[in-house]
Symmetry: C2
Subunit: 176 residues, 2 copies
DNA sequence: TAATTTATGTCAATAGTGCTGACATAAATT
DNA sequence: AATTTATGTCAGCACTATTGACATAAATTA
């Protein structure tokens, strides 16, 4: 509607910069970095007929073996209907198995199979290589700053969740 | 086929850690950080009936006003068919205008309208706020390391492209 | 000038991932 | 016995991306 009233809106010919105090550089870097970071596993996944969603499920089932469907949904922040298709495919293809919960028999504990573990490692390997290359020249201090930055980008209420993953140094949250 | 042969594959009950030398912490942090980083603009975009693809187009048209369709495709690394719908919607709604190329009249230079500029800033604002909060306590040195890390995560052949964006300090590439 | 290439646009079909809403079952809880 | 919880499933829709094919206008080349 707005542009229909006669004259076309004028083109702005100046670039947005950091003028407004907005950090366009890091905004762009996040986009480019994440895009290329996911491109390596995406290529491998395509060979298996899988997508990025399968990768995420495989990843967290391998990181938190025995987690229930509800817990997985809580980590991924997606709906059970979204998970259903992807999880079913991974189970049918023998990458993940379900085990009836010992205490609560309604629950399905999710575990990787050897095949699932192997694929997870194959998907993580190029990502880890990229990270190592990007950390070249960085010491423990710099690495800690980078991890701290990434963690601080996460919504505060979800940071505790990250600490529950294996091999993560908890507590080093700044601010409060 | 693999799991159909009689016995079901055994569940692996141990978590993958950094054992294999793989950096699972940063892999996960990249996922969580990017997911939450994009959630703020996603909410705003939904009010306009737009998606993440519209955000990217708006962003780079504002950062590189006057870039051609071909140049935009090269930055985003998507196909022209993917861009078409999104760009058409942004033009029809008056966020972007096309100007015939002065040298080559086949080209369409893309510029934001005032409306497009305003929306771009509104989308960038919460992301920038999140970044500033995540950089709390970091000095110029730490910020430089973080930017260097993110840039080094990008495929080498595309890093030069980043330097052409306004307000980016070029050259500070490490390695070679 | 004529032929070709380039920049852009468009139509059609498909895939992957997410969503909402509705309904079903079994097991736990009240 | 009634209700709630954990999970699964069906159906439909939205967004973003893909490939392939074809069309037009303008630039370049022969």
């Amino acid at each position: 509607m707005a542009q229909r009233s006669g004259a076309t809106a004028q083109p702005i010919r100046t670039a947005v910069t950091a003028d407004e105090g907005i950090d366009f550089s890091i905004i762009e870097l996040m986009y480019f970095a994440y895009r290329d970071f996911t491109s390596d596993p995406d290529q491998i996944l395509a060979e298996y007929g899988f997508g990025r969603a399968h990768h995420r499920v495989l990843h967290f089932v391998n990181r938190l073996p025995g987690l229930t469907v509800a817990e997985l949904l809580d980590v991924l922040k997606i709906t059970k209907q979204s998970l259903a298709r992807v999880l079913k495919q991974l189970i049918d293809a023998g990458y993940i198995v379900q085990v009836q919960g010992p205490r609560d028999r309604r629950q399905r504990e999710l575990y990787p199979t050897p095949k699932g573990r192997t694929l997870t490692l194959a998907l993580a390997r190029p990502q880890s290589r990229r990270i190592h290359a990007a950390l070249e020249g960085a010491g423990e201090t710099e690495r800690a700053w980078i991890e701290r930055f990434l963690k601080a980008m996460v919504n505060p209420e979800l940071r505790a969740q990250i600490d529950h993953l294996p091999g993560n140094t908890p507590g080093k949250d700044h601010g409060e």
